[in-house]
Subunit: 541 residues, 2 copies
């Protein structure tokens, strides 16, 4: 029980020959039972090695609701639940993931260097806010020319409005989006249209509401402090069970949902001093899975460290990640376009830094960063362009502004075209944020729907406090208000109106050019010459 | 000011052409002055880049006492003080380290694989407790056959009785031991007798009393929690100044004190996620220094992680440490000899684990450790025997027992000989703990002489609490009592009494055999065959 099988998920409830195999990790519990909602019956699990408990039974069937009863007194949902039809506090629902009829056998993941990504948030991308509604927009995306959608996190979160970073059931797909079946259906549809699917997953923290992990075991450690409090326990006592949980999670998306790439959130906040970093161990398992499935699967990380150890190959003692986000490209471009100098933008000078990021990927590769008050980064000379994801805006840079303004609200129409060009001719992997292609005027604001009133109030206050420092004008919208969510939705009618339609055609043309022109298609930084004229603010590639 | 020169120390007070150059790092101070005790005069320092302040003056002369005055209100000793003649709270004393007349030009550091080390504590090794008194024992050590002494930490600590791990002036040599000049003199004498000097240094925490670092700058960070509270800031904002401080410290011992090797305390407690780990950066600088001095200098680490990343070469992305302690050899040997099973000994089975550590260095190289409650370690197949330091006891295993009993008090005379043999025929670097060679009956107990009464009381209580778990019998000696220190001193008259004299000759013979016999001299683990018979408790090498 202490090593991971790539062939199947072991945690939670799985079905084989019409019997359920139930496994839960709870190393400090004295007794563990599974309680079925349909007949109010509790069945005892048997303790195995390393804190795992298990039961084989024919009393639990797909669709059934259940909870675990710990030590005869604490009843909780399954931490590896696949479905939470009644939300984060409700019972878990057993699912058989293997009974979806996939029809994507012809699909072959694209080479990573061909990815043109489109980040979207399921809840606000369409009026309906569901996976099914995304499916109806796939032809639009094909028309635009992107070939990969990146879906913001879908792990079950409290309520129905959330960016996704407050998820507390990493194996359960948000019920209000359409659940596991809805996601399988969407991926299948994408593949039939030649679109790859990148899924954003969060392995650096858990949301605050519905977080019952500590009832089960030492999922957290006091060794490290993070912006979200206690760190997830990747290297302290009992970490094996936690590591296995996340490795199985990564494998599940690839194997059972046919996801093409994972985008792992803020991996700099994963604290792990083990000889084998958890990302490296995930990569080792994904490599093994790829041998078994013969499908390529990519691991992309959001990383606020200019540290090639994360993206170097396993045989060079790296963690083997296929690519990382480079926010510094965004910052340099943004400062060039807008001249902003507040917060982290103060580290960026504009066009000279933009030139540097075209050449070197990292702007800071050993220099002193005034904003960070330390030298930052190392050189990424040996890492090819396809290892870096760039954007002119993403959910964070838009949504973390007080008013959630998109770049299009801040710069002229011509400047929007210029920055889009800067991204799409770069020797890196471009990623659009939903709506930027037609300059959606609606903001993308920060919203939550916590049901715990104290927590909701804390989020409201925290948001206000955050903007006391960064922006001084106006009042931040209430993140807990339904209206804040509603006004962050795309207005699809705009696409056919001017000047939106013109911008859309411009993006279409640029993407098409990028795909066709060899100089743009081949992400070879070594063959790129960058000439910069700071005085005239000109940059020639 | 943001890069380190290997040629000379820059921090604190240095002398060039009879002028003093004074440099202190205090990035958040508004004004910094140096105040001379002799004339009560304060001279302003000028602020340079990166938070450094400096002054060139002929008013400060070697031997003068001084303090820094921060923001016109806080007067503190120099964090890079070379001398604290009035203790940890007193004024700093400027020294010119370059005016010692070295006569060790013939000395060439021994190859690391030839080291036979002898760990000693300056305060208790001799009745006088000074460097000068150690010098008088060097012939004894030559006679025994060891060729390297390892001196427990000498950085200025509170009072005159301390193991050394409460030091708060990493650049100042404990005044009661004989200060900087005394240490230079001792190293010079050792070299003339063909003895190498290993110095124990502490880069993972600072002692609690006389710790004025936070007055100067962000030496600590809240990012990590350690057994000693806040971690030293090696990777958070402002870490450059802290990193430089420790790099300069390591270089000083080699360059200005002719130290042959550093033993760095508990480096697993150094928390550093930078792209370049601080140990790797120290190694890079020491490599540079060795080119300049043409002397080899070794870096040895105490490491409670079976992780070869620390000892792998720089070009394999390791930290480049020359060797590490393996406590697991000790634990396996100890359990074989005594059958102890309390605390961390519970992870060890005895002779089968002893056989494994002869073969593989690490006992745990990926297996589940019941005591740690997780899988632990990786394989060290590619690391030669000279990268591992072994012992039958050291200050920790002796002194961290409640009564400070040495192994000789716990096992028979014949068993003492057996374990000494087990160590001295191993393909690793052996290290004796002072007195074990003649079975010193006095204990080595835990002692401190904090002058802060609250702190002294906290240490007393902490010590009691510690032994509530590990040992249940008797009462722990009072660590703050002078008597506890006195009864931990070696009794030199024993050496010539029986059965001590017999054991001494046994050690002598074994060490001599090890040096002469090619099978023992060559630390090639690949050529070692280990046969173990668990039933008969026999192990054949």
């Amino acid at each position: 029980m202490n090593s991971v099988s790539t062939a199947q998920r072991s945690l939670g409830a799985t079905f084989h020959n019409s019997k359920a195999e139930v496994v839960v990790w709870s190393p400090l519990s004295v007794t563990v039972e599974i309680c079925l909602v349909k007949n109010a019956k509790c069945l005892p699990l048997t303790e195995n090695e390393y804190g795992y408990w298990s039961l084989t039974t024919d009393e639990l069937q797909p669709g059934d609701l259940y909870r675990f009863l710990l030590n005869g007194e604490t009843e909780r949902p399954d931490p590896a639940s696949l479905s939470q039809p009644e939300g984060v506090h409700g019972a878990s629902q057993a699912l058989d993931l293997s009974n979806f009829k996939w029809t994507d056998h012809q699909w072959k993941n694209l080479p990573l260097e061909e990815y043109v990504m489109y980040e979207l948030h399921t809840g606000t991308f369409t009026p309906e806010g569901t996976f099914a509604a995304i499916e109806a927009k796939l032809d639009y995306l094909k028309q635009l020319g992107v070939n990969a959608i990146e879906i913001m996190p879908v792990a079950q979160f409290p309520g129905s409005r959330n960016w996704g970073y407050d998820g507390v059931y990493p194996f359960a797909v948000q019920n209000s989006y359409g659940g596991a079946r809805g996601l399988q259906q969407l991926v299948n549809a994408c593949h039939q249209k030649g679109i790859a699917v990148v899924l954003d997953v969060v392995y650096n923290h858990m949301g605050p509401e519905g977080n019952y992990f500590s009832n089960y075991g030492p999922y957290f450690t006091d060794k490290y402090n993070t912006p979200w409090g206690q760190a997830i326990n990747f290297d302290d006592a009992w970490c094996d069970g936690v590591r296995r949980y996340f490795i199985e999670n990564a494998l599940m998306w690839f194997r059972d949902f046919h996801i093409d790439a994972l985008r792992m959130d803020a991996v700099h906040a994963i604290k792990d001093f083990s000889p084998t970093h958890i990302l490296r161990e995930i990569k080792q398992h994904v490599d093994q899975l790829m041998i078994e499935t013969s499908r390529p699967h990519y691991l992309i990380v959001e990383l606020d460290l200019n540290d090639t150890r994360f993206i170097n190959p396993l045989d060079q003692q790296g963690y083997g990640m296929d690519a990382q986000w480079i926010d510094e490209f965004h910052h340099a471009l943004r400062v060039t376009a807008t001249g902003e100098q507040s917060g982290y933008y103060s580290d960026f000078t504009g066009i000279a830094h933009l030139a540097k990021t075209y050449r070197d990927a990292y702007v800071y590769d050993g220099q002193y960063s005034p904003h960070r008050n330390k030298r930052f980064g190392i050189k990424a000379e040996a890492n090819p362009g396809k290892q870096f994801v760039v954007f002119t805006q993403n959910h964070d840079q838009v949504g973390n502004r007080m008013m959630g303004d998109r770049l299009g609200q801040l710069v002229s129409f011509e400047m929007q075209k210029l920055v889009a060009g800067a991204m799409l001719v770069s020797p890196y992997l471009p990623m659009l944020f939903m709506g930027e292609e037609y300059n959606e005027p609606n903001p993308f604001q920060y919203f939550v729907s916590h049901t715990d009133p104290e927590l909701a109030e804390a989020v409201r206050k925290g948001r206000k406090k955050e903007f006391a420092h960064f922006h001084l004008e106006g009042e931040a919208p209430d993140p807990t208000a339904e209206e804040t969510f509603q006004q962050s939705k795309l207005q699809w009618e705009r696409v056919n109106q001017e000047p939106h339609a013109t911008l859309f055609r411009y993006y279409q043309t640029l993407i098409s050019l990028r795909k066709q022109h060899p100089a743009l298609r081949h992400l070879n930084r070594q063959h790129l010459k960058v000439n910069v004229d700071e005085a005239n603010k000109t940059l020639v590639l």
